[in-house]
């Protein structure tokens, strides 16, 4: 280890010694030289083992020394809920954030619904969790008031201490916890929450509560679960979707050192979002399982409705649009407006299949003994995971529920133990993939078959080739321009949907809906095919934004208008609010859209890019939030895109955690840039061609902008989740910036394939 004498210490030493430099230096001699001042440890101090915690609420315990333990019930995927949701409790509880520690809760009905997704956790928790904090504070104040024999109205709280000014008495939460834990919780309807002007925690920046553990190797994710006696397994999956195992020759696989067993997975009648076919290799360690898996010789069944290639897929889309289109929304008469137009703009956008590829490979650990199933999984829908496990185990779920509620019948009492314990681990990224609990079901299946605790791990290749992809889609658009105005906007969409995820359809209420007189969106989904598609970060919007912002740019260019100016003209001076039939509704606000467009244009110096730099604009509404983005790029060559700056303007209601909020906006932008530039999967002979990060490229440090600026429109409306909303427009801003730089319009993705 190199030791360097630090200049500051050197001077300090020589001045203390009172003498010259020689004297100071000789105190240390040659062997030991002073090092840089020691930095404080980032790890929390060890807890006093004698401290007792009292549960004052399901969500919080208070230690006798005033330490507050808050339960985080929602799965943490990197979206920051493990920090922001406890902030809501801590604010109303009136404690110092530095006294708070956050613990991940297991799946338990007492916490209410514990799934995260759709950017909903923070808005769902906004009132309930603040009431949890307020209710606990009220109990603690009551406990103090009772001890002092005074009225609660005479007491106030400051950072976890209850004060009675009149008598100069005070008691800390630590001293009151035991008494408060015995008291009846107040009626939630009677609780009055703080005025936002009194917030000390909400609206401020609080750091990710798990960073110290993450950067010291102490933070466990699902894949880090270690259980006594466990084995490891990996599953050979069908190369063509929906295929099943016809025959297996496992002779060579069994010869690999460390292999314990081979299990064929038969999904039976289970839905493909629950369980897929495969052959599991069980071994003493992961590597042996993955090596042996490659040596399996498997014959797979033929698949009906197989899509063989991307070309075949596009042909299906073209045909579907021609013959099966049905309007999702139809206002005015777009055909008439188009035939009367001064100018018609037409474009076709092709959006490819996209994989989620979260950094932590899919995995689940399961241990079964005597009817008790214990699961550790990085799963954002633990209730669904538990349900799938119960189905695989053939447990009686109604009985399980009665037992959980203490309402067992006589028959229940005589029936065997059927219990599922679900530990929600920290999740290494999701982007929508962890909404599907197939990776829980297959681990329960294998554990049940081999009767040993087992961790099923998917390789990266497994993950990329056995996903529920962002659906591929085709968008054919026409706009009419007459007398300098956009008089019609007609979009026809076809996409690869799936029967088993009902309710999926492209929205027909995205801007410029409500602002163009003749407006129509038609939809012709393809449902008869074998490709699994599903929710990927900002479902539908991750394609809609590319198309809407791209086509808006095209229309502006055709009109000789600035794209920001055109958007503002279409919105008008006082844009109103309209019904929004889709997730994120019930309303969409033209005013909020205008606010973010104007804020981005102002902060991003729209129209004033320095020489050699080009700007692209995009704005979109996703799940309750409005985001406008400007990318400022240069292109050193026709195939290279250098992103200098991205300016973002966001309306998300109240910003709960300023640090986390910024991070989510930045993260969505980077993800969007990568997806636009490189994201896309290709099909050949019915199989996904890409398999790992060498051929499925993602954004790297080399593509990240030099600078990302995030600006929020001030608001005290309820918070909207920020995990998704910056992702859709980030893809479009790049395409539009490239048009500004080269005159080349990007209508097919990934962009890298289109350049050069």
């Amino acid at each position: 280890m190199k030791k360097q004498i630090n200049r500051r210490d050197f001077l300090k030493v020589s001045s203390l010694a009172g003498g010259g430099i020689m004297l100071g230096f000789s105190l240390y001699g040659c062997q030991e030289t002073p090092t840089a001042p020691k930095l404080p440890s980032i790890l929390p101090a060890a807890e006093d083992p004698n401290m007792t915690y009292y549960e004052v609420d399901t969500f919080l315990k208070i230690g006798t020394n005033g330490k507050i333990s808050i339960m985080s019930a929602s799965p943490e995927i990197g979206q920051g809920v493990k920090t922001s949701l406890p902030m809501l409790i801590a604010e109303e509880l009136d404690v110092d954030w530095k006294d708070v520690k956050v613990e991940q809760a297991d799946l338990d009905a007492k916490y209410g619904p514990q799934w995260t997704g759709g950017s909903t956790a923070i808005s769902r928790a906004w009132e309930p969790l603040r009431k949890v904090g307020a209710a606990a504070r009220m109990l603690l104040v009551s406990a103090a008031a009772e001890q002092w024999q005074v009225d609660v109205s005479e007491c106030k709280v400051e950072k976890g201490v209850v004060l009675h000014e009149a008598s100069q008495q005070k008691l800390s939460y630590g001293e009151l916890a035991e008494a408060a834990a015995k008291m009846e919780a107040p009626d939630r309807d009677s609780i009055v929450l703080k005025d936002p002007k009194d917030w000390k925690i909400i609206g401020k920046g609080k750091r990710n509560v798990d960073t110290p553990k993450i950067v010291t190797g102490k933070q466990n994710f699902g894949i880090d679960t270690r259980v006594e006696g466990m084995v490891f397994a990996s599953i050979a999956k069908p190369p063509v979707f929906n295929s099943r195992v016809k025959s297996v020759d496992d002779t060579e696989a069994r010869k690999v050192a460390g292999v314990i067993d081979i299990v064929t997975i038969d999904p039976g009648d289970f839905n493909p979002t629950m369980l897929r076919a495969g052959v599991a290799v069980v071994a003493e360690n992961t590597w042996a399982a993955i090596q042996a898996k490659r040596k399996l010789k498997i014959e797979w069944t033929e698949v009906s409705d197989m899509i063989a290639s991307g070309e075949e897929m596009q042909e299906m889309f073209v045909e579907a649009i021609k013959s099966k289109s049905k309007p999702l929304r139809k206002e005015g008469n777009t055909s008439e407006a188009i035939s009367n137009a001064d100018q018609v703009v037409e474009a076709t956008y092709e959006i490819p299949l996209l994989a989620h590829a979260p950094m932590e490979p899919m995995n689940t650990t399961v241990s079964i003994s005597d009817g008790k199933v214990e699961i550790w999984s990085p799963c954002q829908v633990p209730g669904r995971g538990q349900n799938f496990a119960a189905q695989i185990m053939e447990f009686d779920q109604a009985r399980m529920e009665r037992r959980a509620k203490g309402e067992e019948t006589e028959e229940d009492k005589a029936a065997p133990q059927e219990e599922i314990i679900f530990h929600i681990t920290r999740i290494g990224g999701g982007f929508g993939r962890r909404l599907y609990a197939d990776y829980v079901a297959d681990a329960v299946y294998v554990a049940k078959a081999i009767n040993k605790p087992v961790q099923v791990i998917w390789s990266r290749e497994d993950g990329i080739r056995n996903d529920y992809y962002r659906m591929a889609s085709r968008h054919q658009l026409k706009a009419a321009i007459k007398d300098g105005k956009v008089t019609a906007w007609h979009e026809q969409i076809s996409s690869l949907n799936t029967d088993y995820t009902p309710g999926q359809h492209f929205g027909a209420h995205n801007y410029p809906a409500n602002f163009v007189e003749n407006y129509q969106v038609d939809f012709a989904p393809i449902r008869k095919h074998n490709i699994p598609t599903g929710a990927l970060r900002a479902p539908y919007h991750n394609a809609n934004a590319i198309v809407d912002s791209g086509f808006m740019d095209e229309v502006a260019h055709a009109m000789g208008k600035d794209p920001v100016q055109l958007r503002l003209e279409i919105l008008g001076e006082n844009p109103g609010e309209f019904d929004y039939d889709g997730h994120g509704g019930p309303k969409i606000s033209g005013l909020k859209m205008k606010q973010v467009i104007e804020l981005a244009a102002e902060k991003g110096n729209w129209g004033k890019a320095p020489a050699g730099r080009f700007q692209g604009f995009s704005a979109h509404f996703t799940f309750g939030g409005y985001v406008a983005l400007i990318a400022e790029i240069s292109m050193p060559s026709p195939t290279e895109v250098k992103i200098h700056k991205v300016t973002s303007a966001v309306h998300c209601g109240t910003v709960v955690n300023e640090f986390g909020a910024n991070a989510q906006v930045e993260g969505g932008i980077i993800d969007g840039i990568g997806a636009a530039m490189f994201g896309g999967l290709t099909l050949k002979d019915g199989k996904i061609v890409q398999s790992n990060f060498h051929d499925f490229q993602l954004a790297r440090q080399t593509l990240a902008p030099d600078e990302i600026a995030v600006h929020f429109v001030p608001s005290d409306e309820k918070p909207e989740g920020l995990g998704e909303m910056s992702y859709p427009p980030a893809q479009s801003m790049i395409a539009n910036a490239i048009f500004a730089a080269t005159g080349k319009r990007i209508q097919k993705f990934p962009i890298a394939d289109q350049l050069g």
Binding site: M1, K2, A36, L39, P40, S41, I42, L43, I77, G78, R207, N208, D210, T211, P212, I214, V215, T216, G217, K218, Q219, N220, F221, I223, R226, A257, N285, T286, W287, A288, I290, A357, P358, M359, E360, P361, R426, G428, G429, G430, F431, S459, R460, F659, G660, A663, Q664, E666, G667, G668, I669, I670, N692, F693, R700, Q701, T702, A704, P705, D706
Partner: protein, 156 residues
């Protein structure tokens, strides 16, 4: 199978494994050191980065036979007290989101600062280009590395 001795985080560990087993799986499955992560298995993501004789390597493609008798440092051993300038900077800059890639990021950055205590922005980008982050924390990682460099970066 063969017997190997390795010095891991200043401790000698003995194991009896296939000489071809990558160091990543020896660490995670044989020795129970799960701080080093599996992301791709083909050295494309950097999650598995550890130090071998002071150099940052991708442990997913390094067979245990190559590490025999050498000094290995993992994220758990970078600074047992949790006060390496990069760890402190990572907290200050609030870098991680999901956190899965971050151990590999920190280990790669530690090797960079050991060799180049005051890297330029471009040097940081080039050195860290092999470490993927799906959550997009790249800008904060750059800031954290510069922050750590200002603190005297190497932690030694």
């Amino acid at each position: 199978m063969a017997k190997f001795f390795l010095n891991i985080n200043n401790e000698t560990r003995e194991m009896d494994v296939d000489p071809n087993m990558p160091l990543l799986w020896v660490l995670r499955d044989v020795l129970g050191l799960t701080g080093t992560k599996f992301g791709c298995g083909i050295a494309q993501c950097g999650c598995c980065t550890v130090h071998l004789e002071g150099e940052a390597i991708r442990s997913c493609i390094t067979p245990i036979s190559q590490a025999k008798g050498k000094k290995v440092v993992t994220i758990e051993g970078l600074s047992p007290e949790g006060n390496h300038p990069l760890q402190v900077a990572w907290v200050e800059e609030d870098a991680p989101q999901c956190g899965y890639c971050q151990a590999g990021q920190v280990m790669n950055a530690a090797a960079l600062l050991d060799k180049n205590p005051n890297p330029t922005d471009q040097e940081i980008i080039d050195a860290m280009a092999g470490n993927l982050c799906r959550c997009g924390t790249y800008n904060r990682i750059r800031k954290a590395i510069k922050n750590a460099a200002e603190k005297g970066g190497t932690g030694s």
